[in-house]
Structures are given as C-alpha cells and as structure tokens.
Amino acid sequence: MSATRPAAVTVRRTRKKVDAAFYLMLLPALLLFTLLIVGPALAGMFFSVTNYVGYGEYSFIGVSNYLVLFTDPRILRSYGFTIGFSVVTVLLVNAIALFLAVLLNSRIKFKTALRGVFFIPMVVSGIVIAYVFNYVFSTTIPAVFGGSSILANADWAWVAVVVVTAWQAVPSALIIYLAGLLAIPEEVYEASSLDGASPWRQFTAITLPLMAGYVVINTVLGFKNFLNAYDIIVGLTDGGPGTSTSSVAMTIFTGFTSGDYAYQMANAVVFFVITVLISIAQLRIINRRGVSL
C-alpha cells in the first residue's frame, strides 16, 4: 500500500523545507475529518460510560452499559441476525457474481448489452428498490402464486432481506471478478484445452485458484457493507415482524428516541470493535494469500 521513494530522493527531500502550500492543502481535509468523524467517535466512546439519555445531565456509570449489553436479548438477537444475514449474503453474492463473471467473460453474443444490464442494480437507490420488492413479496407473489407474504413471517422474512441485498450487491462483486478474469492469460486456457481439459475442469483447476485473492477481497468488502445493513431493511420489513430482521444499525438508532442514548453508544462501540476484528481477520487471510489491499 505505501510506496517508499528511492533513497536518493529521500535524502534530498528531508533536507528541504516544506512549502507552506502543502500544509494548506492537507489542512482542510484533516480539520473537517477530525471535527466530523473523529470528534463524534471520541464523544461516543465518552458517553458510552455514562447514563446520558440524549439531553440534560448525566453521570459516569463505568462499564455497566457494556455489561447489560451482553445479556440483553434484543441486542444479541440483532447481532445474530446481522452476522447470520451477512454470512449468507456474502456466500450468495460471491457465488452469483463469480458465475456471471465467468459467463460474461466467455464467448457470447450481445456482450456489452448483457454486461450493462447486470450493472443496473448498482445505480439504483437501495430503499427505493426495497419498496418495489416489498410490493413483490407482500402482494404480487401471494396474488400470483398463492400463499402468504414472507415479509410477515418472522422465520422467513430474513430471506427477503438477503435476496434484495444480494440483488443490489452483485454488480460491485462482479466488477472485481471481471477485472480478475481479464488478468488470466488466454494461453493458459488454450494449453489446457489442447490437453483435453473440460470447461468445468478448467474452471476448478485454473479459474478458481487464480481468483482466490479476488474472492477474499469481495468477502471483505461485502461483509463491511452487509454488517451496516439499514436502507434495504427499512424498505422491506422495517426490522419486523417483531424484531426478527432488526439489524445492529437499526438497534443503535433506537438510541435517538428510547432514552437509551448512552446504552446504544456502548452498543456502537462494541459493534465497531467487532467490525474491526472481522476486517483484521480477513486482512490477515488476504496477506497470507499474497494479495495486498
């Protein structure tokens, strides 16, 4: 990630006084970033050890917010749903995107048009398409195929969330896979087909191993997005039925209204730590695979 400059340049540069213009170029980004991102992050950590309700006075209560958090069934359920939903969606998105990438990269007709269609979900607003799917799941599917809406079923509503999230997330994974496939030289396939390898054998023996790094990238990026799921869930189920599809983000936002401000800040801190741990774990796997992020 970080390029080191040649030694000769380094020596000359360090001796030179830095032009003030460089400070002025960096300053706006640093100041705004500190004020609007780092400031709130520190304030959040601070309030997580208080009993602040969002207004008025507060006092320090130590780590008790955190202790309650780990035994609160509502919180635990939101983590269970969010992590479970993320795992399923990551698997589904990677499988679909890899499948589409291999097909789109092979000899086909109307390549540009087909490619174009598969990328449309990327430019559509998540909540708007979730409203559209809300109607499909709750009205059209029961009207055409019978049965009742899965959005009203506490055991199966998560499937709808997975479907719509995957619908929107496939294109970004697809872009990365298509870029990866282009990097595999055509000669490798030609040589293997001379040796009589079937297309399936070519896929498992050549494509898949060479794409392993890209799979990890897509897994990391996917996880990062899905753990913060909010817009699509609001449009589909609004966390329901009951709290069966309430994501962690949704639970944190209840801190605005329920007087749980400090408590939900503790939740946000825990959520942050979990997100970072998952990212680091995945980055370690990437490094072992020799792909730098």
Binding site: F33, L36, S125, V132, W167, A183, V248, M265
Partner: protein, 305 residues
C-alpha cells in the same frame, strides 16, 4: 474497492483484454459448435438478466396503471387502461421538484467537495511522504474506512444539530467525509505513478506549488476524478440512512427519503407510489445507460486500484 495498486497487473489485464477481443472477432474460422455454445451461454445470461429486469418492468407497468387495477396484486400484468396520470399525482404529493433540487445539490456538493479535498490532501501526502506529519496523516485519514456511519451516527446527529448543520449542507459535508478515505487512497495510488520530474521542470519555470497542482497535476487526475466522482455521486444520490437521520426539516429531504410517505399515509395508492419510485430511479438509470462505457471504466478503475 482496493486491490494491489500494481500498474503491471493492470497493464497485463488490459493487454489480455485486447487480445481476447482480437481472438474472438479476428479469427474467421468459428466452428458451428463454438457458435452454438456462444448462443447457449448468451441464453443462460439472458434468463439471469430477468432477475434485474423484472423488478424494473414491474415498476414501469405499475406506474401506468389505474388505482383500480393497481390493487389487484398482480404486478406483472400490463396496464389496462393506460393511465399516465399517476406521475402528476406523485409529483405533487411528494413535492418532487424540491426534493429533486435538494438531491442534485447534495450530490453535486459531495462530488465537488470530495474531489477537491481528497485530491489536494493526497497530493500533499504523496509529495511530502518523507515528512512524518504527512505520512501519519495518510494513515489517520485511512483509518476511517473502518468507521461506518451507524457507529458514530448518534454523536454526529447531536453535533450537526449543534453546528446548525442538521440540513442538506450537513448531509453533503458528511458524505464528503465518508468518501474521503477511499478517495485519498485512490488519488495517492494514482499520484505515485506520476513522476516527480514533471513537477520539477514546472517549478524551474517558476510555478508555485498551487500552480503546479491546479495547472499540471489536477488535469492529469481526470480519470481518478471521474472514478471518485461516480462513487461519491451514487453514494450521495441513493442514500437514505444519513439524510433521514441528519436533516431535521422534513421539507428539505432528498428523493430516497421522501418515498417513505407511501409506507404510511398513502399505502394503497400503489400506482402513485410506483410512479414516484420510477421518478426516483430513472435519473441514474438513464444517465448510466447513456454513459455506460464511461461509468463502467470509472468503476473498474476504482475496483482494481
């Protein structure tokens, strides 16, 4: 988002792409079997593409139905009779013109803000990499990639309210902040590939650092500006979470947020709701269809850098 910024790999990929094209169209002797399999794969992909197209088709047909037909539940039937009146209803009901203007302003400000802030910061960081302050600033700014909005939303809402930024200005500013890390990363990778000699010669001719940046470097950054701009635009234009929480005055909401009205007050006016959804989706889809090649290359650059 970010794979090894190795120009050699990208180069190889581009070459391979050109070779593939040549391979497919250049060789005249395409056997009947190869052509049959090409059509077969095309067919499979066409069927798959229905998963994308059907929801969009449903949105269009629903928007042109009469209220009576729209409540029968079958979203896939064609409108009979054809009723374009829903658009006028939706236009007025959700206050579409105001929301559209606000969405355009928020998205434009986010794009301009992130391009200027991130390219300036990345330029300073890359050119002064040997100085601790600049090097540490890079990692400081990049660390934010691990801070998603939900984690700091509660304090941010308080802060923006306190600073009188609980409005579209604040929303645009926060969008810039959340795009900053990724954009600085992209710009830095790109700037490292621009040789310093170019700037040295401009300096010898008497150009100041600012002139070097705006006259020489910024034009060279054009492809990265496009990439950063596309991502920033889509993030700002389509977002629901941030404006819905930050903007206090509901008359100043963006297009995605105002769609909520159909979930509560007007939940059975499906034709009007879908007309509104269609108006919300159409701008980005239309732009994308016409600028597909450009958007795709921009997003691919973001994916492999």
């Amino acid at each position: 988002m970010a794979i090894a910024a190795d120009p050699a790999t990208v180069e190889t990929a581009a070459k391979a792409a050109r070779r593939n094209e040549g391979h497919q169209h250049g060789t005249g002797a395409v056997t009947g079997r190869a052509s049959r399999s090409a059509w077969l794969v095309t067919g499979v992909l066409a069927v798959c593409s229905l998963t994308v197209l059907l929801p969009l088709y449903l949105t269009v047909t629903m928007a042109f139905k009469t209220p009576a037909q729209s409540v029968d539940g079958n979203g896939f039937s064609l409108p009979a009779p054809f009723n374009p009146g829903s658009f006028a209803d939706a236009w007025n009901l959700v206050g579409f013109p105001t929301a559209f203007v606000i969405s355009v302003l928020v998205a434009t400000a986010s794009v301009a803000g992130v391009i200027v802030l991130a390219s300036l910061a990345a330029f300073a960081i890359v050119r002064q990499w040997d100085h601790k302050l600049f090097r540490y600033s890079y990692f400081y700014l990049l660390a934010a990639m691990f801070i998603p909005f939900p984690v700091i939303a509660l304090p941010q809402v308080k802060l923006t309210a306190y600073l009188s930024l609980d409005n579209p200005v604040g929303v645009a500013l926060l969008h810039v902040m959340f795009q900053l890390s990724f954009s600085v990363l992209l710009y830095s990778a790109f700037l490292r590939s621009i040789p310093g000699e170019l700037e040295e010669s401009a300096r010898i001719d008497g150009a100041t650092t600012w002139q070097v940046f705006w006259k020489l470097i910024f034009p060279l950054l054009a492809p990265m500006n496009a990439t950063v701009g596309i991502f920033a635009f889509l993030a700002a234009w389509n977002d629901y979470m941030m404006p819905s929480l930050i903007t206090a005055n509901s008359d100043l909401q963006t297009i995605p947020v105002i769609q909520k009205i159909f979930q509560s007050s007007f939940s059975t006016d499906y034709n009007v709701a879908f007309a509104s959804y269609l108006m919300a989706m159409a701008p980005t889809i239309v732009v994308y269809v016409f600028a597909q090649r450009w958007v795709m290359s921009g997003m691919t650059r973001g994916a492999i850098k």
